[in-house]
Point group: C2
């Protein structure tokens, strides 16, 4: 795929910097420092790392050819230029020149200090990150990792329900119990949303204070072993709240209709518009009609090494592919009443989809 | 400070993007999505966030003026350009043009897709991130947060020693006990190094397998409440290993001499060279003489919102300032024997320094 992109753009090199999961996906090497993965149309397939990471890189990375900045003359340039960024840029520029580079492709978030120096020697073009696109379609192995994290989420959510039944009514306490449970089993959940009352009208507020008539619980841990995320939300009814209950019924209907249409070939927009159709029919406002209350976010996002990745389930007309894994998470948010959301992770299959976070959607603890 | 930088570079705006702790430091607002903090010589002090984050931004950020991308016409441009990155770039470009921008300053890691579009309308210059420099000198409040995390580390290390005394000899088990202990108290430790045998010759290998004659334990959690890190390493002797013990004695001597000279006005290089002097005198190789075994990394790094931040304690001649917080962590690494390291976090004071992670440096459990 990379060769095609290089040819298409008439470029000789693509450079991936460390610092996001595209680097890990491409190299299978995790590194806290600066490192670069360089792919050339001449067959170059090179990982450049700090000297002290070279041994680990040869053990852990799937890239065969590894050079250190030291090997490439970084320290001599640093002595001369007395500027670590200029020395790094020059080291990469010399390497690329040796390989007769004229045009370089970089991902959108590539560091600007390198880009500005590259521009003095090469043509530079930003392209959609090719690994980001590859990551959207998961391998069987990746799906099993997301399934593994999903199973842990459901277990943690069952614990949360038990604690709600026992009368726990503090957002922070419930969040802490969920996160401790997951950490002990090898999953890291941060900023778990446990939000109640009018605060829940803000979909990104993690919530605090007392749990009242309803609570939105949104858990999105990653495995500390294999690093894959999953994502799951339920809204629990604890006491009478007719507006919230009607919103929840609408969101559940929208989610079920949206999930039931997910299959290979359907577009992201079809799924998103199904959610909008159902919610609008039931009298709610949606982002499609530019409202700032009601359903005010996209229908979903890919889940994998990042909690938010491709595909985006919004107004884009990209056709879904078998193996894509994403959330379907309609919500309704009104300052006057609060918010509700229901979220599952699905895998696109040829003739439908599989829900990885299967769990009842309407949870009413009033009758307990 | 920002106004001086703008004047010095004859620029009208500095733009800080979200996605690193400089954004949080500057705005006191955490956001997983794209957001921008724009400071202008005309008094502009503006936070630009997604529409759905506007309420939370006004509650949580210290920036008074907040606009959403929607407010600034992003959605109209998206409809026209059908490219979210182009639409975002145009939205910011129009905003900056309204404010008569001619030259823009950006931090080194600013996303290249924006920089390349900015270049069509403005002069663009990369500058050292001004917030990174500010962050190097901590306020009293920040020091107390790092002290808080340091206290938790020492507690977790005492637990690790108890477990070693009880006979636990598995790297993964010990790491897990340390990380669970910290998580339960509100601290997140990841990739805690528990490394033994020859594996410990690689300073960034987290370690696995059986704990043998010695073990390097390097714990660097951050608080899940206030988000400040601390960093601490001890090498524990468990059985006879004369080479390792001699290396450890050398490292402890180097560390103590380095710490004893830390005070305002001393340069980072003075501290780093003190470590090199002691280790070379004792017959070990150092990075100063370009060896790739022995002492092969810098002497230390700043600690705060990031685990690695300014100041760097290496060959740079920057003078230390009161309030700087950094590690002093000499180590020795030989493939033949393994590695040792001793690390503490210190606060620079006018006439010396304070060690935040005070704990005995030579730990010999053979006699237990």
């Amino acid at each position: 795929m990379l060769y095609e992109i290089l040819k298409e753009h008439d470029a000789q090199f693509y450079i991936q910097h460390s610092g996001d999961n595209n680097f890990y996906y491409a190299t299978k090497f995790r590194i806290p420092n600066s490192a670069f993965y360089i792919i050339g149309i001449d067959g170059t397939d090179l990982l450049v790392v700090p000297e002290m990471e070279k041994n680990r890189a040869s053990r852990e990375s799937r890239v065969k050819e590894i050079a250190s900045f030291t090997d490439l003359g970084y320290h001599e340039r640093l002595k001369e230029l007395k500027d670590s960024r200029k020395a790094l840029a020059q080291t990469l520029i010399e390497l690329l020149k040796t390989h007769k580079a004229k045009k370089i492709l970089i991902p959108p978030n590539f560091p600007s200090f390198l880009t500005l120096d590259f521009l003095e020697h090469f043509e530079v073009e930003v392209v959609e990150n090719p690994f980001l696109k590859m990551r959207a379609v998961k391998s069987g192995e990746e799906i099993e990792k997301i399934r593994d994290t999903s199973v842990a989420i459901i277990e943690s959510f069952k614990l949360a329900l038990e604690l709600l039944k026992k009368g726990i009514r503090d957002c922070d306490e419930l969040r802490n119990e969920i996160e401790m449970f997951l950490f002990g089993r090898g999953y890291l959940a941060q900023d778990t949303i446990v939000s109640s009352g009018k605060l829940s009208a803000d979909p990104h507020c993690i919530g605090y204070g007392e749990i009242r008539e309803h609570v939105v619980i949104d858990v999105f841990p990653k495995s500390r072993r294999h690093h894959y995320y999953s994502d799951f939300t339920r809204t629990v009814i604890l006491d009478d709240c007719p507006e919230i209950e009607d919103m929840l019924d609408a969101v559940i209907e929208a989610q079920q209709k949206a999930i039931s249409m997910v299959r290979e070939g359907v577009t992201a927009r079809d799924v998103h518009y199904m959610v909008c159709d159902v919610l609008e029919e039931r009298g709610y406002h949606t982002i499609r009609k530019k409202y700032r209350e009601g359903f005010i976010h996209s229908t979903g996002h890919g889940v994998g090494l990042d909690i938010h990745e491709e595909p985006r389930i919004f107004e884009n007309e990209d056709a879904l592919k078998a193996g894509m894994v994403f959330t379907v998470e309609p919500g309704l948010y009104y300052k006057k009443w609060g918010g509700v959301r229901v979220e599952d992770v699905v895998v696109v299959r040829r003739n439908g989809c599989e829900v990885l976070t299967e769990f009842p959607r309407k949870i009413d603890l009033r009758r307990v």
